[in-house]
Each structure stands twice: as C-alpha cells, then as structure tokens.
Symmetry: C2
Subunit: 403 residues, 2 copies
C-alpha cells in the first residue's frame, strides 16, 4: 500500500480542519501534495506552504502522483464537475459535499463502477458520527427498519435555545448566526434542506434506494411562532426538526423532513444545541443511538480523515443493499397525524384532511390536529408555505415504530 | 463470493437468536449446515432440523463444505479449543466468547496471520453496539484518546433499580436474577469481569495494545451498601460500574473497571437498565456516544449476523494500530481520587494514600476521600475485597478528559 498523496480542493473551515487533523495523525500515511483554492493570496487560519496552493484545478487533476482527491468546497456545481472528472480519470475521491452527492448519487455510483474507483463521503452526513459507514458495513443485512434523527445542527441549536433557554425564535436565530452555527443566509439549514440531503444519502445506505430531493416532503422551522412553542411546552414536549426514513411494511418505505413533537422518552429529546443524534432501529437489535458533533471544522475533518485512512486500506462502498432481491420501494401513500397552526388561511377547508380530531379557534390564532396523507402534504406545499401556517408532525401512526 | 455455509457451535440463548435472526435476513446468503450441541435431544426454543444437530465437534471441523464457524458456547475452555482448531485449519470464525477472546487475543491474532484466516467478534463487546468495528475501521487513526462506558448490562440493571426505583441492592440483584438479566451466580457480572474482558478487547482495537486481565484493576459492585447509595443520592450523582481506557499522554495509557460517581452532565448517566453505552473521545471529534442493547438473544445474534455477512464480503480485522510507530504503553502509575467506605478495617492506616482530603467517622460507618495510585489499588486488592470495604472512583484527575 503506497502512501496517500492528496490533492485537496477547498481550504475553508473544513479544509483548514483537515490540515490540522492530519498534522496530529502521525500514522495516517497521508500528505497533502496540492491544494486548489479560489484565491491563493488569501490569508489562512493554518500554516500551509504557499507553493502547494493553486487556483487551477488541473494542477491537481493532471498530477499523476496524486492518488486521492479530497473535495470540501462549498459550491455544489464546481464540486460536481471536480468529483465526476476525478472519478472518470479513475482517481478516488473523499467528499463532504452533501448537496452535490444527494443530487447526483445514482450517477456517482455508476461512475465508481464504470471506472473502478471509489467515492467516500461519510463526512457528508452528520459530520463526525459514522452513520454512513455503519449503515453500509455493520447494518449490512435486511433487518433495518428505520433511521431517524436530528441531522442538522444549526436548526437544532436554534430550537434548543428556544426550548432550553427561553429565547425567542428570532433571538435564537440571531445567536446562531453570530456564533457561526448558522450561515448569514440560514435558509438551507432552517428550511430543512441540509437535513434532507443527508437523509437521501442515508437512505441509499440504509435501504438501498435513491429518492430524488424533489420527491420528498421537506418542511423547516422558519414559520414557528410563540404560540407553537407554548403549545409544545404546555404538553411537556419539544419541537425538533426530524429527518426520518421508515419501512412501513416489507415492500415499502417512506421518508420526510419536518418539525415533530418529541417527548421526553425519546432518545432524540436529549440531542441539544449543535449536536446530531441518530436512532437506527432494526428487527433484532431494537434501537441503536449514535450521538456526536455533526458539523464544525475539526469534527468534519476527522470524518474526512477516517475516509482517507480507509482508502489507504482500499476501502470502498459496495452499495450491497441496492442489489438486494426485495429492496423496498418509496411511497408517500401514508397517513400522518399533524398539528397545523394558522391565522388567515382557512386550513380546515383548503387542506384535504382525512379527519380532524381537534380544532381550536381564537381571535389571534387557530389550529387543527388531524390525519392527512403525506402525498397531500407534498401536493399542498404551497399552502403550507404561507407565512401564517406552521405544520408539526405528531408521531402516532408510527407509534409502534417510534423512537 | 460463495454462499456462507455455517457450522454453529452452541444453541443456547444466543444460538437460538442466530437461527431466528437468520430466518429474517433474506439477503444474508448464509445457511446453517450443522449445529454442535451438548445434548442433541434437548428441546429447543426454535425449530431446527434434528438431522443437522450433532454432539461431535469434528462433524463440523471436518466438513469441507462448511466455510464459516460461528461459536457461541458458554464454556471458555471448549471455545478456545474449537476456535484455535478452526483457525489452524484456515476456517474463519465468528465468536461471541468474550472471556476466551480477552484471555487469548495475542495468540488468536497470530493464528489469524499464520493461517491467513479471520476471527470476528463484534458481539463479544456490547452486543448489538458496533464498538469493535468502529474502533477498528472508523476510528482507525491516532486521534483516539479514550473509550469509557457501561459495558455490563446486568450490573447496570441492578444499579438502575437502586438509583431510579429505590430498590435495595439485594432486592435489585434478586430481580435481575429472576428476570434473567443476571446469572444465578452473578459474580462474573457484578464483580466486573464481564466488563473487564470487553475492555481488554476494546483496548486492542482502540489503541493497538493488549493488556492481560490479571494486570488490570477490576472492582465490582457487590460490596455496595445503603450508606454509599445515600451518599451518592445526597450529592445528586449515580454510582455506575464504569470501564475505561484513557491515554494520559502521548506515550502512555491506563485502564481499569470500577464503580464511579457519575453526575448528570455525563452521557453515561442516562444509560439505564440493561443497556450499554460507550463514549469514544478523540482529539478532533470530541465525544461520540453509542448506545444500545448490550446483551440478549436477538441483539447479540444481530451482531453475529453482521459479522457473518461481512465475512461474506471478505472482511477481517487488520489490527492496524498494533503496527503503529508510537503505540502508547500501559501504566498503572496514575493517581486516582477515590471514596473508600469501611467499618472494621482501618483504611486510613492500611491503604497507602498520597493524601486524604475528607474523612468521616461515625458509630456505624466511616469513609475517606483521597488520592491513591492505581498501582497501589492493585497491590492492596486484598484489603479492598474485605466485606466491610467499598471503593468508588471520583473522576477528577481525568477531569479535563472526563465524560
């Protein structure tokens, strides 16, 4: 096994973390030969030899000595170009770009097979928690029933400030931005897309099925109001942004990202602040809970480093479950029980509920609790996105499956 | 990759679980060809073809069609004979026998190398929690600093009954035996040996070092008294039986199994009942927490099944960390802060404390709190084992390292 000579794309927060982590990992047998950045003259938070910096991606792609590409840039389009080009040249890649991977995974799997090379991306889902690796390698049988968790640290940090520290949503959001837990445009996190992309990647390794982002119900926390928060607190539950993929029977599974009322008995209730937590449920092992830092410079870098060292030992994802004889298929034909809070929009009239079990009206605010199919939630997304409306999942139909 | 044809040794609780789990795992590509049991006529909790039962181990060892041996028997001596014999014949083995593995691991590693075959044993440590696999594959770099956890479900169940349900220790022990969480002779669990053997295996995969059982301080919970329990409750902490291996600097690590005062801020505080929980701490990723069922028929069987399926894909432990250039070495030359409760034995006089920071005497019971070296705890084990004495670790010197 030759030493790893890396070409690194990106020297932002994660890229700098990789440089630091690598300096501590003396037995990694890996060195960074070249780093491609947008601006070679920008000052950096780590010491790097200026001579290895370049702004020309071909300086890495054409370097025959480089036997592994590590890609941690923020631009999903550029990431796609670099990763596909590297795979086509047979160069293995470790990537942390969840958006790019979630959007293009079927093609990326094909490229790995066609060019007999590897793409590893454990860092793309839940940072330092080895979710992908465990789903791929350890839960590599068909006993798996459900993966459910807090996959986005920024939105969880905000909700923690609200529920554990009594901050208003607006203040909590500002704190998150100030502390760097959320981007200055935090919509990617708080609207659920970060969690969605992670969930898509997780589902490929959990159940062997790829579902495209546009086919999945994704609903974030930006419409939450003080009324919703008080409603939850009175019932002694928290509101959390939960991503889940669940086998509903032997042939079918469903998946979605949305706020959920979480009670104290659930493992994810205690996943606070910027942490991530994932519950893996299976037929024989019941529930496994994995908890850790889901983002940040060094935690993400350590996950990248695990993939780098594994490549040194020839590791690749086999995507075994995609070849299973009885891969379950995706359905949105399931009933969810939801709470919908509204003011102006006439929710009971415009949303196609199967039934309504609770209904509350007042001068300022109204809500209903009722059953509605996931497919109708997707269909009526425009209504749900109106600024006076907020939807929260009430786990019930999955009661016997629930964490 | 040919299908797996298994020879199974043992059809007790775990063996029956394997038969059940395998019937659910349609894509495992594995079948049980022969089962070796002590009594072929005994009635079983699962349906098995009587014709595949045998009481002659050579019916499995000599069967050229059998390409994997799964060994889940209770007798450590017989387990050693079977596993070493199989490895010498080049037959890969999946084993759940922690006692045998912990005692003989260096020889078992040599045998795997010499005969170019594999021994997998994730089930031996924490049942369904993939601790070994993650330490071996994912935390496969030198960033790891500590593994600490609740590794024994029986003793944890007893302590949970005491701390969360107000039962006396004696009642809780009886409940555990009645429910099958502890053996009718529960000393293996409550004296810390079960946790010790798991810790030894974990340490090989965490830090690349093997330490023999007799060199490790192991102290269980059987001497706990109502006074100790009240003492902990007044300080709002729980007493838990904790196993830990900790790097104390770049060159050295220490390890031990003993009761510990655990406060609410620690992850393992919430590991209750028969569950196991492990905290993995590293330089870049901070703390990872893995939680799940550490024992029981189906959880253990699902772990065995994960190893079986991995063998189908050619997986083996590489024991990479044993070859690292700067493997840390084991030391007991560390100071611990401990609470020692006693009545008749004159603990302050007979135990070589470095210093004593608290001391309490009364008519019925006395205790001291002080610093003592781990090597002296090992040396004075006979004193600590007197029936009127009980020792509890107070995490302090590892304060900055602590979970």
């Amino acid at each position: 096994m030759a030493n790893i000579k890396m070409g690194l794309f990106g020297l932002g927060t994660v890229g700098e973390g990789i440089v630091k982590a690598l300096s501590k990992a003396k037995n990694a047998n890996a060195e960074i030969k070249r780093i491609c950045v947008l601006d070679v003259n920008k000052s950096r938070g780590v010491e790097v030899d200026k001579n290895i910096l370049t702004d020309n991606r071909n300086d890495i792609l054409n370097d025959k000595e480089i036997n592994l590409i590590v890609e941690v840039i923020n631009d999903a389009e550029a990431s796609y170009e670099i990763v596909t080009e590297a795979l086509k040249r047979g160069i293995p890649v470790v990537s942390g770009s969840k958006t790019m991977i979630a959007r293009h995974l079927p093609e990326l799997i094909e490229l790995q097979k066609k060019h007999d090379t590897a793409l590893l991306y454990d860092a793309s889902s839940c940072g330092s928690i080895p979710v992908i690796r465990n789903l791929e390698e350890y839960y590599d049988n068909d006993l798996l029933l459900e993966v459910k968790g807090i996959l986005n640290g920024s939105s969880n940090y905000i909700l923690s400030r609200v529920f554990d520290h009594g901050q208003s949503y607006e203040d909590a959001l500002q704190t998150a931005v100030d502390l760097g837990f959320a981007e200055s445009d935090p919509s990617f996190d708080i609207d659920g897309y970060d969690a969605l992309y992670k969930l898509i990647i997780i589902t490929v390794h959990a159940l062997g099925s790829y579902v495209a982002p546009e086919d999945i119900f994704t609903y974030g926390i930006s419409h939450i109001s003080d009324f919703d928060i008080r409603f939850a607190q009175e019932k002694r539950v928290k509101i959390k942004l939960v991503a889940q993929v669940v086998k509903i029977n032997q042939e079918q599974f469903t998946m979605f990202v949305m706020p959920e009322f979480v009670n104290k008995s659930k493992y994810i209730y205690s996943v606070d602040d910027e942490y991530n937590g994932v519950v893996i449920r299976g037929e024989c092992y019941d529930r496994q809970f994995m908890f850790g830092k889901g983002a940040g410079s060094l935690p993400t870098a350590s996950s990248i480093l695990s993939d780098v060292v594994s490549r040194h030992h020839g590791y690749r994802y086999e995507y075994k479950k995609m070849g299973y004889s009885d891969c379950p298929s995706y359905t949105t034909d399931v009933l969810l029980k939801v709470y919908v809070r509204y003011t102006d929009t006439d929710i009971p009239r415009v949303l196609p509920f199967e039934n309504i079990t609770e209904s509350y009206q007042s001068e300022n605010v109204n809500y209903v609790v009722g059953e509605i199919s996931l497919s109708n939630l997707i269909k009526e997304r425009e209504i749900l996105m109106k600024p006076d409306v907020f939807v929260i999942n009430i786990p019930r139909f999955f009661a016997e499956l629930d964490n």
